[in-house]
Symmetry: C2
DNA sequence: AAATTACGTCAATAGCGCTGACATATTTTT
DNA sequence: AAAAATATGTCAGCGCTATTGACGTAATTT
């Protein structure tokens, strides 16, 4: 029985076989989601660096445009972050003139959030390359296929 | 013509209409992707805090398990990050005994990366809740539907 | 012998998330 | 009316992940 070199001894404890089919785990979709999302956010990221903003700003500006009048609490619920995390980003967007706050008409403790025209323009500019990418991914797809993809993505969400 | 209060004047510059149908942009899928990915990564995140690791560790341990023997350069290409970003994370995984390096047999400058058994176990534990979530999202879906979703996700990637 | 490549590392910085604590209005409850 | 709860803001500190730039070493290629 030949003695192992130290390199062989180390190798003996290593796994050289690719992880696949283990425990019926869907590694393929896991990776597809990673790559898809990685590239999906890379488009707006490139635009954002020019204005000195980041992904967090993108999300805020997006949702406020989608639902003008939403409150800070609504936004926290949507983004699933803490108010301290939101604070800095929101303040910068307000100071830069992309978003404005209005005291709630019924409950004056609330701060209802609205985009300015600049905020709307920014949200659209950020969404455009993402939408083009989605269109490309759906190239030639039927309505049924689009519906299936939407159903899948909805199913990926945690039910609240 | 009534004078506006300062509040009304401010409101006049704001947009109260939800952003939708603007420029044929697919806001719905954009949001579905955001929510799907947000919840998709939340599963492993919860596991990772226990071991003191983060998402970056997850990615590294995942891909090294999927393709044992991959080099540092391969990993950088896959993750699309800089080597300085990878360095700390990889070092921690090596120091903790989840991954080992072996000098390349042909090119000895290379560092081929392999998981240990602990590394394999960790990768599987992290993939498991994600895979369950995917299965749930595909509940009742046909093979054709699964194929459509994969095709869509592949189409979302930037072609290299 | 010189240039290139693969990898590692030091230093500084930015973005974005967190916890904990405390303050201020405003609304609701008692 | 007083007390409690709610919506929001803010200060302070910290951790993770990413960045750029610079430099070093070993190994390979030219």
């Amino acid at each position: 029985m030949p003695r192992q070199t130290s390199q062989n001894a180390a190798k003996a404890e290593l796994l050289a076989t690719p992880m696949q089919n283990a425990g019926n785990i869907d590694f393929e979709i896991i990776e597809l989601l990673f790559f898809a999302y990685r590239d999906f956010v890379s488009d707006p990221d490139q635009i954002l660096v020019k204005s000195g903003f980041g992904r967090a700003h993108h999300r805020v500006v997006h949702f406020v445009n989608r639902e003008p009048g939403m409150t800070v609490a609504d936004l926290l619920e949507t983004l699933q972050i803490t108010k301290q995390s939101l604070a800095r980003v929101l303040k910068q967007l307000i100071d830069s003139g992309y978003i404005r706050q209005v005291a709630g008409p019924e409950d004056r403790r609330q701060r209802k959030l609205y985009p300015t025209q600049a905020g709307r323009d920014l949200a659209l500019a950020l969404a455009e390359p993402q939408s083009r990418r989605i269109e490309r991914a759906f190239e030639g797809a039927s309505e049924a296929t689009r519906a299936s993809v939407k159903r899948f993505l909805r199913g990926m969400q945690t039910e609240k």
